[in-house]
Symmetry: D2
Subunit: 156 residues, 4 copies
């Protein structure tokens, strides 16, 4: 293949950033903190429009963050031009999302053919420094199955 | 609010409306369409800030809508002053959320002590009339466990 | 068996019976009660070696029965020569499996490419007549993702 | 309470052994390998009556082993006289259970009131030595919610 006219596909970091900047994840302020083959970390800061009626992060937002991290973790392990889309996801809520931030850390357990399974831990924390984990409390645990799809041409 | 006359607790419809109007579900435009003991229907219209990078409803938004419907379905079967909060939720994504609306229909399968299990079907559709189901396509199926909690005093 | 005339692949009923008669499902006495494209019903009678320490059906046996029914429901909707294997399964336990029998009824919600999603209701009952549902209590609800595989040659 | 006439409740190891020796888990040959507060390891050896039609461990047996390990992990963190029963369980199947043994390792993520959430890794392996993990392949990953119940009097 002659890549001089066709630029190479996006690298995983760029793809994760571009995909996360769009739509809901962009509007909600999801930030890709780290990407490596088979793992990803995504964070979001507290805003009123991301909470439930008691003032904690909404379960749907917690789940969306876990889903986003899982998708990036799986996609980062696929050949360029492929992306992981969610087949199913289960989340257990363990504690209120009552901090000033949420961070989701996903890792790929295994790819089997075009299917990948990832686990995701979601923490809530008060600190704003990514490096300071002292205030983190595990608030949800999720597992997800992702399917590898061809990335639409406009993203390649 | 004047509590001096000790008004009765909110009825399920009012509680569902109030809880849904706040935070994420309010900002996203979730609408409580129907509530009955053990069942609920919640809908949302398409907006750019509710989509994923391909332009369909984001999986996290689909899940949040399912969760909201399940919470209302369970809460509506509880004594006044109690509310259902999510213990766990699993969602299978069956088709792209590519319509102009989503509607989630939840029903309580069973309460066992303080735990209730609900199933939720999420459809995407083109029509805007609640009564017209001809364009509905099943886009997700979920099951959830909810736990009955005492409603905080400010909601009673 | 004389394959010289190249007989057609097994029909779904025969395949379900043959697969269920083998290994664990055969040893446990699982019985295929009904098969139709996209649905299946499988039952099992109570035995001491299928219970947990309180004397009810073991959760693992309830789950195995649900899994078996889901596999048959999905397989029965596939072209001959294909079989559905389990990608993931979630089960909610709703009541003790305290009857003399269990019956699992599975139905396919949707096939998407090579993936199918099924829901399964598991009932416990006292009666032994398949037609008499008056004593049935819902004891578990499950959802499962199945993947279509080529059936090994010896089963075709 | 006067414990001089009422012997103390069973310790977690004894309870795990007694519960596992009964019914399905006993008949299938489940062995409690290790128990500590919040964790447990349970193994089983391959037998024809634990397989599916392709000759690998049956998904229901894999799930039952995961469930048993989760129950013991949660129970071992509870006060004596309490036992964890399964509310829900989800399992992702990652590879065929094609070894001569299965081993499930469960750990408690968090107790919240009377509910505990555990994760379980199930490996298949060829070696028979518990200490030799060189042949282990991850074949399933599960998460489960358990509820603390009062242990029936005959087990105390």
């Amino acid at each position: 293949m002659n890549d001089s006219l066709n630029p190479p596909s996006l690298n995983p970091e760029s793809l994760a950033d571009i995909a996360t900047a769009k739509g809901f994840s962009g509007a909600a302020g999801f930030r890709v903190v780290a990407v490596a083959p088979g793992s990803a970390e995504v964070a979001v800061s507290r805003r009123e429009d991301l909470t439930q009626f008691l003032g904690h992060f909404h379960g749907g937002v917690i789940t969306a963050l876990a889903d986003q991290a899982a998708g990036i973790a799986v996609t980062s392990s696929l050949p360029r031009g492929k992306i992981g889309v969610t087949v199913e996801l289960k989340v257990n809520f363990l504690a209120p999302g009552d901090g000033s931030e949420l961070v989701a850390r996903a890792r790929l357990l295994k790819m089997t053919g075009s299917l990948g399974v990832a686990t995701i831990e979601v923490f809530t924390r008060d600190a704003t420094s990514e490096a300071d984990r002292s205030s983190e409390r595990l608030c949800a645990f999720a597992s997800a199955t992702m399917r590898a799809l061809d990335l639409p041409a406009e993203f390649k």
